[in-house]
Symmetry: C2
Subunit: 223 residues, 2 copies
Amino acid sequence: MAGAMARPKKAPPPAPRRRRTAEEARAAIMDAAERQLVAAGPGGIRLQDVAREVGVSHPTVLHHFGSREGLVDAVVSRALDALHADVTAALADASAGEDKVAALLDGVAAALSARGQGRAMMWLALGSPEPQRDDLRLREQAEAVDALRRARFGATGEATLEDSQFMVVLAASTMLAHSVMGAHLLHGAGVRGAKAPARFRAWLARLLVAHVERCGGATGQGA
Amino acid sequence: MAGAMARPKKAPPPAPRRRRTAEEARAAIMDAAERQLVAAGPGGIRLQDVAREVGVSHPTVLHHFGSREGLVDAVVSRALDALHADVTAALADASAGEDKVAALLDGVAAALSARGQGRAMMWLALGSPEPQRDDLRLREQAEAVDALRRARFGATGEATLEDSQFMVVLAASTMLAHSVMGAHLLHGAGVRGAKAPARFRAWLARLLVAHVERCGGATGQGA
DNA sequence: GAGGCTGTCTACAACCCTGTCAACAGCGAG
DNA sequence: CTCGCTGTTGACAGGGTTGTAGACAGCCTC
């Protein structure tokens, strides 16, 4: 014990110093920060925690991102871009089919829950009351849905666009809410079982398909 | 100026000291804390901010609630109780009618947005991945919906309960998501106008009613 | 009117977080 | 091999937060 105290002031072994490329370091730091973003929100990201998780000291994080805010911005941007890419991929995959709608919803749900992107979106929405970035491109998707319906049922009505928009909004709201509290809601309503979320998505898909089949290309407004 | 400096160490005018009853003080503090809860989440509640908003010093807050955590618990409990009461009232009001469903959704939306209770629920859900308190009593409501359907269409099928549960879950998810990011979603999808949320709720009501009319008391499972 | 219960305050202590600074140390270029 | 760029670090400063301690002061009771 006394022997270990040989160095009175220089203390512990200097610890081997790894040196990554700037890009590697940034990526590793952002990965850790993203996990914190999903778990605790943008306000919950702590430089010290991020640094510890990566295995560096916190000034290193500041060196790469300038400030805490810089880190948060970078992480949020990257997460939203990834989300957009995943959702787009899921939509492209399934939009060809007809009532592959269930598969489409499954794909979106997977994109939202894979790395907690749905939670991240919700954190961001809670943080800023005003609409901010149109990250989900809902408008494009509503127009795509509308086009599909017209192609299938003919352009019987013009007011239909809003109907398609509402369908997209409904699907998006539901998938987002479920990525955050799906388990709460299903369990709370008394629906049990590990496959409950999938059954719910399938049910929702049937509901949407039935709505389209019932209304065709015409608006349901006046009905 | 020099005359005002008469007291070298006791400084500013002692400031008139109001004395409330413990109950009044607790209520005022919880009101302020609730506003912060809605705006910044449970983790965003700062004793100093709460105290400043009420017009007291932060040790007063600690005196009444013991600790920050005590305050948060009290505020969360009170908010959830209020939400439950409001939602229950909205449901009781409208459940008598038939397709007063739109009015029912309006009532729930109002209960969720009036004092930000929907945002509060979302903050809490984000904070705890595991299902926690069954604050919305979704189970009861699903059973009520199921009972109504059976009363109206007869007990044609037994598997119907899950259908009703899903309807309630869908409505709840959507209303919750919209209380947080309804504006984002509608605006993002291209739906404009101050009455867009109300139109969306009316549309959702028609969708749900149509579903029930189409499926009656029998399950939509095998269809 | 006197006394006590308790709501309230000022001042202080301990902790945590972000950001700065000067110095150290890989790793590639010459 | 030497030099320099830059990723990396420990130490420190400044601000902010929760929580404590002791004194002050309304308001109710006797």
